[in-house]
Every structure is written in structure tokens, then in C-alpha cells.
Symmetry: C2
Subunit: 114 residues, 2 copies
């Protein structure tokens, strides 16, 4: 039995988890992730992107790299800081199917100093 | 350039969105999704599942079918009601790589009466 077709062609999960200030891991919410998620959601709507969903997510557990997002089904992760970062992810990846290499997270990335 | 390997082999997103009682769409939280998500998370931990993450998600926008989850990278959706449903999804899909046909959601499903 093959799986049904995808319900969303691109499903973006933006972490908006909030931790106490005392937590050494930090959290995406303390780094502005809620406002950035709002921006990305609004821009996706303005751009009329069908079959794309910009979703809020709980902790994705890569806190030191945050704000983080993961885009499925491809399973590509990004760390981002600004609206310009999100515009680039929307245009290049979500719309264009490319990758924003400068923002991509790799499995070994921990956010710890080298 | 090929994408990095997946960070999680299976990434499960459980909607825990809460809407006001007056909202005709209903919501997953009103149907017990938070406790069910807690159960699934705890069971995954007890089972020692590595490279699997049971994640909280905001509204997945298939509210009438809820509680809903989507499992990536395969993009398979389930509607579930009980701990037994979650045990079956964990054993059959997450661990076994199969599908729980009786709980799967299809793109055309709306939750509206036939």
C-alpha cells in the first residue's frame, strides 16, 4: 500500500518554545521566534502560497541554534535571525525548491563554540 | 548539493491547539490531545526510541479530524483517540515502518458527515 499524497507540499515548523531565563540552553522564543513566525506566516499568505503551511511548533530540541525551523518532507533545518532570512527561505526554498546554504543546519551542529 | 542526513529518522507532530469552545471547528486540545501527546512522548522514551522525536505542534488545520498528528519525512497523517491508538502507531509505524490503515487520514478527509 502506498502512502496517500502529501497534504501539504511543504510543511514548515517554526519552534516557538519558551524556557525560563535561567535555563542555560536558551530557547527560540527568547530570540524572537514568535514574531518571526508571525512574519513568515503573513508573508506566505501574501504570496498566495497554496499547499504550504507555516506551523508553530513546540521545542525542536536544537535550542542553542535557535530560532530554528525544519521544513518537511525534505527534513531540511534552518537557523534564522531576521525577516530577511525568512524572505530568503521563502523565496529560495519554499517557492523555488532550492536551499539557503548560509542558514542551513547540519546534524552535527550544536551551537557550541568550536 | 544533496541535503544533510535527517536529524530525526521519524519526527511526529501532535497538534495540541486550543480554540474557544464557541468555535465550530473544534480543536485537538478539547479532545484530549495534550494528555495523549504526553503519553506518546513518555512511551517513546520508555521504549528507548533513538532518533525519533514526539513533538508538540500548533494547529495543523485539520481540526474536525482531531486529535491529529503527522509523521515526517513520510508525511503520513493519523487521527487518534486513545492510548491504544498511540501504542499501535508507535509499534506499527514508528518502530516497524508500517502503517495503521484504520487511523490514517487521507487528503480528501474533512471530518464532515458523508
Amino acid at each position: 500500500m502506498s502512502d496517500p499524497p502529501l497534504y501539504y507540499d511543504r510543511h514548515v515548523f517554526c519552534c516557538t518554545n519558551l524556557r525560563p531565563e535561567s535555563d542555560p540552553r536558551g530557547c527560540c522564543a527568547a530570540k524572537g521566534s514568535e514574531r518571526l513566525r508571525d512574519y513568515m506566516k503573513a508573508r506566505a499568505k501574501e504570496l498566495g502560497l497554496a499547499r504550504v503551511r507555516i506551523n508553530t511548533s513546540g521545542c525542536l530540541d536544537r535550542c542553542a541554534l535557535g530560532p530554528t525551523m525544519v521544513i518537511y518532507p525534505e527534513g531540511v533545518w534552518y537557523g534564522y535571525k531576521t525577516r530577511e532570512d525568512l524572505d530568503e527561505i521563502l523565496q529560495t526554498h519554499v517557492i523555488g525548491g532550492g536551499r539557503v546554504a548560509r542558514l542551513m543546519l547540519h546534524p552535527a551542529d550544536t551551537g557550541a563554540p568550536d
